[in-house]
């Protein structure tokens, strides 16, 4: 496992997005870079540096998807959870 030191340089509270959450923060390259560096250290997978760009590309794709659902029509304060999903009447 590679050892990496992580320095958090930015003040995340200063993010220019009005909506403060990961789906917006990770859309900014410097935040994505820091997020990747931290997670790389934590997930317990021996990740080669050569894979970094591609993994970040996929995180970025997921971020775009997350933005779509964060912007979706569901009330932000909904208490209508979903873990009882089923496709039709049982």
């Amino acid at each position: 496992m590679k050892k990496q030191s992580v320095t958090i340089k930015k003040n995340y509270n200063d993010t220019p997005n009005k909506k403060q959450n990961l789906a917006y923060s990770l859309n900014q390259p410097e935040f994505l870079d820091d997020y990747y560096t931290i997670m790389n250290k934590l997930v317990g997978i021996d990740i080669s540096d050569e894979w970094k760009a591609n993994i970040k590309f996929h995180i970025n794709n997921a971020t775009k998807m997350a933005q779509v659902i964060e912007n979706g029509p569901i009330d932000e304060n909904t208490i209508d959870l979903s873990n009882t999903f089923h496709p039709g009447e049982r």
Binding site: N21, L22, A23, Y35, Y36, M39, N40, V43, G44, I45, D46, I47, W51, N54, I55, K56, F57, H58, I59, N61, A62, K64, M65, A66, V68, I69, E70, G72, P73, I74, T78, D80, L81, S82, N83, F85, H86, P87, G88, E89, R90
Partner: protein
């Protein structure tokens, strides 16, 4: 006079075997010879089960010769995506890592059900690694080829299931579909494929990918066969927690029923095909044959697709976390990097994705109060060349792999039944499929409309170079 040829239907084979016009052993030998001749070029099969298949054929022949009853699939060869457990065979799920696993102790439940109707399992079929694929490419076992043009993708992840049926190496196959893995390869290879309602067919004895989205289903060269096979597969099984105890949906009996009273509409907005000329023409032709006049919007399809993307990435990555930690260098780089990314995504996105799916499901059920069938494209284009990495959408280049499932993902996100019907793109002379989508549990309607279309020229055509033995 019965003649053995590669385009025999399931019905013709079973009937000829039962009437002693041909033996199950002769049928089996014919198809095994085809597999031997063509598989090297296609890489559709990863395992051929000659010994087991001959034992099953012999048993069927003996029962027929002694006047005993046989099932409705007597002597019909079939094969399964290699994520189905096959007794005494390692369940590869398209991976190198699983090669080290023990052989399966018993067959997957759907294999048992088909064999109880006297179908003959002849082998295991290629797939994308751990089913995280729409292309049919696999670094470990070779790329599965499209019989229409072997320089093109078969589609995935049920790549071998589509390629083997399209090249007539077997009359039918089983695949799995999490985001489009039956429908995308069916579209590219020009065959029929059914993704039933989530919870309809038990997944018992199959290697999972994404529990809350995984479906199993059949692929075949004509609708009567697809319907007969689908009916044979149905039945509750409590060992799959997602399987719902519903009464069987006897699709075969109603296949020829009239469709004129069905409210059939063309999916619009998210499913608009203006940017995809090949898909546009395909949907136009199907809608014209069905005299479809009305469009319908499935509100939230874009959000549902995004939700499905996240649910798949996060559930799949969690499933494989220990393998990622211990065998990272044995993954296909194309799946490896996506799985690693999935391990890093926050739980709040997953929960929001589940909420979004729940909401979209409610919107779709409202739509189906006034609609019986929705027509939508299956893929944005015909099969791309193997190795292509990008696709043009609205003049911009996008990553190809995730976007091949652009039209299928919102449908499986909420488990709706969908049957792909083949069309031919005149310009490229390649197949491209269209989805026939119904409300939950109405696979019979999908198949009925598909049957109508089949009788109006939307049928499986033979990929010419694989026609003769």
């Amino acid at each position: 006079m019965f003649t053995l040829h590669e385009q025999l239907t399931v019905h013709e084979i079973a009937s000829a075997v039962k009437n002693k016009q041909v033996s199950a052993t002769q049928i089996l030998k014919f198809y095994l010879d085809r597999i031997k001749k063509h598989n090297k070029k296609l890489s559709a099969f990863t395992t051929v089960l000659e010994q087991r298949a001959f034992a099953q054929a012999k048993s069927i022949d003996e029962r027929i010769n002694t006047g005993q009853k046989t099932g409705c699939l007597a002597g019909v060869p079939f094969a399964v995506k290699n994520l189905f457990d096959i007794k005494d065979t390692v369940t590869l799920a398209g991976s190198l890592i699983n090669q080290k696993h023990h052989s399966a102790k018993k067959d997957a439940l759907l294999i048992k059900r088909l064999e109880s109707e006297d179908a003959i399992l002849v082998g295991a079929l290629a797939m994308g690694e751990y089913a995280y694929d729409f292309t049919g490419e696999n670094i470990h076992y070779g790329n599965c080829k499209n019989p229409w043009d072997i320089s093109r993708m078969s589609g995935g992840s049920s790549s071998g299931s589509a390629s083997a049926v399209a090249s007539m190496l077997v009359p039918f196959s089983l695949g799995s579909d999490t985001n489009g893995s039956i429908r995308v390869p069916a579209s590219f290879c020009g065959i029929f494929g059914l993704k039933p309602t989530y919870g309809r067919l038990p997944r018992t004895g199959s290697f999972p990918f994404c529990d809350s989205l995984d479906h199993l289903g059949p692929m075949a060269r004509n609708i009567k066969d697809l319907s007969l096979i689908y009916d044979s597969l149905q039945g509750f099984d409590e060992s799959d927690h997602a399987c719902i105890n519903k009464s069987a949906n006897s699709s075969y009996k109603t296949l020829e029923n009239c469709i004129k009273d069905l409210r059939i509409k063309r999916a619009s907005e998210y499913f608009d095909t203006q940017s995809f000329p090949q898909a546009h023409k395909a949907v136009d032709k199907i809608c014209s044959a069905l005299s479809v006049k009305e469009n319908i919007n499935l509100p939230g399809a874009h959000e549902a697709r995004s939700a499905a993307y996240l649910i798949t990435n996060i559930e799949g990555s969690r499933l494989h976390l220990t393998r990622l930690q211990s065998n990272i260098n044995d993954f296909d780089p194309d799946t490896r990097d996506r799985f690693i990314a999935g391990t890093m995504l926050p739980a709040s996105w997953y929960i929001r994705a589940l909420q979004t799916r729940h909401w979209f499901h409610q919107q779709a059920l409202k739509v189906f109060q006034k609609t019986d069938i929705i027509i939508a494209p299956a893929t944005p284009c015909v099969a791309p060349k193997t190795g292509e990495k990008t696709i043009n959408i609205n003049g911009e280049q996008h990553a190809l792999r995730p976007n091949l499932g652009y039209f299928t993902q919102p449908i499986s996100a909420i488990g709706l039944p969908s049957c792909v019907v083949p069309t031919i793109d005149e310009e490229s002379q390649l197949p491209i499929g269209v989805q026939i989508i119904a409300a939950p549990w109405r696979e019979d309607l999908c198949l009925r409309v598909a049957r109508f279309l089949e009788t109006h020229g939307f049928e499986t055509f033979p990929a010419q170079s694989f026609k003769a033995l």
